[in-house]
């Protein structure tokens, strides 16, 4: 706008480069650099889970998850997780882990480590993961 009119008088580009940026233009330049760095920052943050996903496969166990979701996400039979927390296999427990933790008077960390232990056990090629103790016909 007004800035362009003012600058169009300049003929030598080098002189223009040397010309001090006005206060307003410096703000635009700083904001430009900031938004560009923010864009890069968020791209990195978006790519990070993709890399993590690629190498680690499993996502961290969180309080909102149900036993069914953890079993689904970690690809283990649900009964393995149910028995790890001493819960009956049927009917499937639809409560969130946070609620289960509250009901069992355990911390989420405790629940998490119990489940991870059971998952590691179930995934081992030896011995074969145990069949459900009470419902042998329960589908995995």
């Amino acid at each position: 706008m007004a800035i362009n009119v003012e600058l169009s008088v300049e003929t030598d580009p080098q002189a223009l480069m040397k010309k001090k940026l006005t206060w307003r233009q410096s703000v635009v330049a700083v904001a430009f650099l900031m938004s560009l760095s923010l864009a890069i920052f968020f791209v990195v943050r978006a790519v990070r889970p993709m890399i993590y996903w690629h190498y680690h496969q499993d996502e961290p166990i969180r309080g909102w998850m149900t036993m069914g979701y953890v079993a689904h996400s970690y690809r283990v039979p649900p009964h393995v997780l149910h028995s790890a927390l001493g819960l009956p296999d049927k009917p499937p427990d639809k409560r969130s882990l946070r609620e289960i933790a509250k009901a069992q008077n355990r911390s989420m960390d405790e629940i998490r480590s119990l489940l991870l232990q059971a998952i590691v056990q179930a995934r081992r090629p030896y011995p074969a993961s145990p069949s459900p103790p009470t419902n042998p016909e329960a589908s995995p």
Binding site: V28, L38, W53, W64, G68, H72, S73
Partner: protein, 203 residues
């Protein structure tokens, strides 16, 4: 995050009504972790906890309705408030300019802010209402965007049903990256315009 836990627990426990309410409130502008909720809903569909069609229909209606509430509030209540503020503090010219931008870029802006740059969604509802952007056009641009958003997020959750958190994290960060990039492009364009006149004269 505790609010995320509680939201998703509620969605699992009470199903569609909660999903509807959460999306409605978030679309008006309350910052709920809505991406994760939608992606998780897709995963719950895959796991047989919820049904696909009702989830998509309820979420779409909630999102569109939430937009109308945000638009309506700013159009019929916000406007007089802003007028009163500008009368005392000034800045009416800036508001006018923002309105002009909103009317010019309104349509595509409304559409893309529904599903691509979702952080801007509630904000654009507000400015569209303020600028008295035609309500019919607001719906015509907004509703397909919201349906696209719901279908996209739910289907991503359905397809990657065992990676809900990763997907939500990726989507959230990509949304912010696109927003920052758009701002950078606009500012970069301003900077280029600052340097250009002299080179055109010199050439």
């Amino acid at each position: 995050m505790s609010i995320t836990d509680q939201l998703l627990e509620a969605v699992l426990l009470y199903g569609l009504p909660v999903l509807f309410g959460v999306i409605l409130i978030a679309s008006v502008g309350v910052p709920f972790p809505i991406s994760l909720t939608l992606v998780a809903a897709g995963s719950f569909v895959k796991q047989g906890e919820m049904k696909l069609a009702p989830v998509i229909i309820a979420a779409s209606i909630a999102a569109i309705l939430g937009d109308q509430i945000g638009y309506g509030l700013s159009r019929w209540c916000g406007r007089s408030l802003v007028d009163r503020i500008t009368l005392r503090l000034g800045g009416a010219a800036k508001i006018k300019r923002a309105e002009a931008v909103s009317t010019k870029w309104g349509g595509p802006g409304i559409f893309f802010s529904r599903w691509l740059v979702t952080a801007l969604g509630p904000w654009l509802n507000f400015t569209s209402g303020m600028a008295h952007y035609p309500w019919r056009r607001f719906i015509v641009w907004g509703a397909p965007g919201q349906v696209l958003w719901v279908v996209l997020y739910v289907m991503l959750g359905y397809i990657f049903s065992d990676r809900v958190q990763y997907i939500a994290e990726i989507l959230g960060n990509l949304g912010w990256a696109i927003l920052a990039l758009i701002v950078a492009i606009i500012l970069g364009w301003k900077l280029i315009r600052y340097f250009r006149p002299s080179s055109s004269v010199a050439a």
